[in-house]
């Protein structure tokens, strides 16, 4: 009896749902075709989009897209790397008709983007972080810039600027991209000053202002005189270092205004070049490659302008490296390279160019870096 009733109710529900879906489709269809002329594009940020950092760089890219004709740009900020981002993406697709999404945070990819990409095969997911592999859905894609090229230049400049030979790096989490920035920074610094060390402090998360300030203070207490960082919003690190009288190299965006006394140079994204290009490709009916990579050469990253603290010698060395990186004939990860435990990680005679996928699985810190990956 009870089972009977349940089946009936389920049946009833099913029928109503089908009817409802049918009605909804009939209602939505004309709207869809009307909206087809403009492309709806969703940008999702993990933090505030005016944070002097990672999110601001993406928002500047989104603003460049906004200026194009026939596009509608949707933005949502402060979306956590949890199921919350699935809900955001789903509502952008279902309610706003977005067909191109930019979930811009590293942690959005797995499983969030992968799950929705399978669910909505007609929507294009452009994830920032470079995680796409052959087994992933074809409508998901990942792009990333070799900002480590700019970190390398910062490292060279910092290596000349330091008096104590001790550099500091405030980092969020030991993931490959962060480690790569730390390593290229250290390799650059040691080109300028072979005895230089880079002390790393991992705070544990992308945005922990109080802990970032503590980390910067601890570094300066240890006699470190040049500080840089890889956190979502470098503002706190840069300002704290400036107050303590240390020199700084910026990251993500231009932080020169935050540190008028101690700013040297910095590594910046150049998304305002890349995003409009992607959108043009999609509007022209083309396909963006599933894995897009680029550095100085492709204009995906750029260094901040040198401050007056940067010596002529440092400028010359860094400019030289920049020219070679832009031309594509400079290898940062050129063996032999040891990690900071003494193991050879890149053998003599092996050159790992920027596009080498092995570099994206980096799980070590090079010689000269004080710190551990776990």
């Amino acid at each position: 009896m009870a089972a009977d009733r349940m089946i009936t109710r389920r049946h009833l529900l099913k029928t109503t749902m089908l009817a409802g879906a049918g009605a909804a489709l009939a209602g939505v269809a004309p709207l869809r075709s009307a909206a087809a002329a403009t492309l709806s594009i969703g940008f999702i940020y993990v933090g505030p989009r005016d944070d002097f950092g990672y999110n601001q760089a993406h928002a500047v890219g989104a603003a460049a897209v906004k200026k194009m004709a026939d596009v509608k740009v949707l933005e949502e900020e402060n979306v956590p790397e949890t199921i919350a981002v699935q809900k955001t993406m789903e509502s952008m697709i279902q309610l706003d008709g977005a067909s191109l999404l930019f979930p811009t945070s590293f942690g959005y990819y797995s499983p969030q983007v992968l799950k929705l990409a399978a669910q909505f095969p007609k929507v294009r997911f452009e994830h920032c972080g470079g995680l796409w592999s052959e087994k992933d859905p074809k409508n998901a894609a990942s792009y990333f810039g070799y900002i480590d090229e700019c970190c390398h230049l910062s490292g060279i400049v910092a290596g000349y600027a330091t008096k104590s030979g001790k550099l500091g790096f405030v980092a969020a989490k030991p993931i490959p991209q962060v480690l790569r920035n730390i390593n290229t920074f250290a390799l650059g610094a040691r080109l300028a000053n072979p005895k230089a060390t880079v002390q790393v402090i991992f705070t544990g998360d992308w945005s922990l202002p109080t802990k970032e300030a503590e980390a910067t203070n601890s570094l300066v207490d240890q006699g470190i005189d040049v500080v840089t960082c890889h956190v979502d919003s470098p503002k706190v690190v840069i300002e704290t270092a400036e107050r303590r009288g240390a020199m700084v190299c910026g990251y993500h965006a231009n932080q020169a205004p935050l540190a008028p006394k101690g700013f040297l140079t910095g590594a910046e994204w150049n998304w305002e070049e890349l995003y409009p290009g992607f959108v043009r490709t999609v509007m022209a009916g083309g396909t963006i490659p599933n894995l897009v990579r680029g550095g100085l050469k492709e204009k995906i990253v750029k260094p901040s302008a040198y401050s007056s603290l940067v010596s002529a010698e440092a400028r010359k060395h860094a400019d030289d490296a920049k020219a070679k990186l832009t031309a594509g004939d400079y290898v940062i990860f050129k063996g032999p390279i040891l990690d900071n435990k003494g193991n050879t990680v890149i053998g003599a005679g092996t050159s790992r160019g920027q596009t080498d996928i092995a570099l994206e699985e980096m799980n070590y810190l090079v010689e000269g870096v004080i710190g551990a990956t776990s």
Binding site: P48, D50, L208, T210, K211, Q222, G223, S233
Partner: protein, 308 residues
């Protein structure tokens, strides 16, 4: 002044510096919540008030050029939100915990909304007192940069403790918190006393928030608090509703937050997630050691219940 590498001495110094720098928001919020809870009501909305205080203090400091005015306005905004909580809770059959959670979300949302345009500009900061003048070591010097608000908080705690114990107001507040019936019988308006206590708690929390944005870490952004207001509410229970214990708890949490970075800076690089969790492990440990099934929490106002 000399620049010396401190090595391992950097760790205790960082703990001292961390205790001085990072404890003030905990101190103000927990003292404020201590007052509110002594009146028999919990205000869980202090996280929202803290964030609102941080935003409004920064905004006023930026707009007027006076950080102290910012502190005052932050306190005022906090007090207003406290009044809001108290007025709603004064209605019949309203649960203070639910209102607190709503107020927390409201405060955070409002601060994000109003604070959007203040993320980028740099506001004037609160000055600090240089208590490290006697030392020739730059790091000691830096660790002993003490903000006036920290000292105010340190003085406020014994003042509140004394006031609760020795003044008529303190007696009334405790009476309302321990037995609303007794307070009614004595001719006091329970709601009015609670309103005053919640407003005072909000005022202190707002000031705690302004410390975050106007001194340390010293900028306004949406991740500024990262849960410090909620932690401070828990600290009150941890401190057994005693203002002086609130001071110790706040110092402990400030110092514990510095452990992770300080140890990494001297080369203890493994297990930093564990060190970063130190404050919470410590809380659990102290709670476990000091709790007893044989007695109720000493000092807990008996009107504090979740079933109201």
């Amino acid at each position: 002044m000399t620049d010396v590498a401190l090595g391992w001495w950097g760790v205790p110094l960082a703990l001292l510096g961390g205790a001085i720098r990072a404890s003030t928001p905990f101190l103000f919020v927990s003292l404020g919540e201590c007052l509110t809870e002594k009146s028999g009501r919990i205000n869980l909305g202090l996280e929202g008030i803290l964030v609102m205080g941080a935003m409004s203090g920064y905004a006023i400091s930026y707009l007027t050029g006076s950080p102290w005015l910012g502190v005052l306005v932050a306190g005022g905004v906090g007090a207003l939100l406290g009044v809001l909580h108290a007025v709603i809770c004064g209605l019949k059959r309203v649960n203070d915990i639910a209102v607190g959670i709503a107020l927390m979300l409201f405060g955070i949302g409002l601060a994000f909304f109003l604070g959007k345009s203040f993320i980028q500009p740099a506001a004037p900061m609160l000055p600090s007192l240089d208590l490290g003048w006697w030392s020739g070591i730059a790091q000691v010097h830096a660790a002993l940069q003490v903000n006036v608000l920290f000292i105010v908080g340190l003085l406020l705690a014994p003042a509140i403790a004394w006031g609760l114990r020795n003044t008529r107001w303190g007696l009334v507040l405790r009476m309302v918190g321990d037995s609303a019936d007794a307070a009614l019988a004595a001719g006091y308006s329970v709601n009015l006393v609670r309103l005053a206590a919640t407003a005072a708690g909000g005022f202190l929390s707002g000031i705690g928030g302004s410390f975050l944005s106007l001194y340390y870490p010293g900028s306004w952004n949406e991740r500024l608090s990262s849960g410090q207001g909620i932690t401070a509410v828990a600290l009150v229970i941890f401190a057994r509703w005693q203002p002086m214990y609130c001071v110790y708890a706040a110092l402990l949490f400030g110092a514990a937050g510095a452990i992770g970075p300080a140890l990494q800076s001297v080369g203890v690089t493994s297990g930093y997630y564990l060190f970063n969790a130190a404050p919470y492990l410590l809380t659990l440990l102290i709670m476990a050691v000091t709790c007893s099934p044989k007695r109720a929490l000493v000092g807990a106002p008996s009107e504090l219940t979740i079933s109201k």
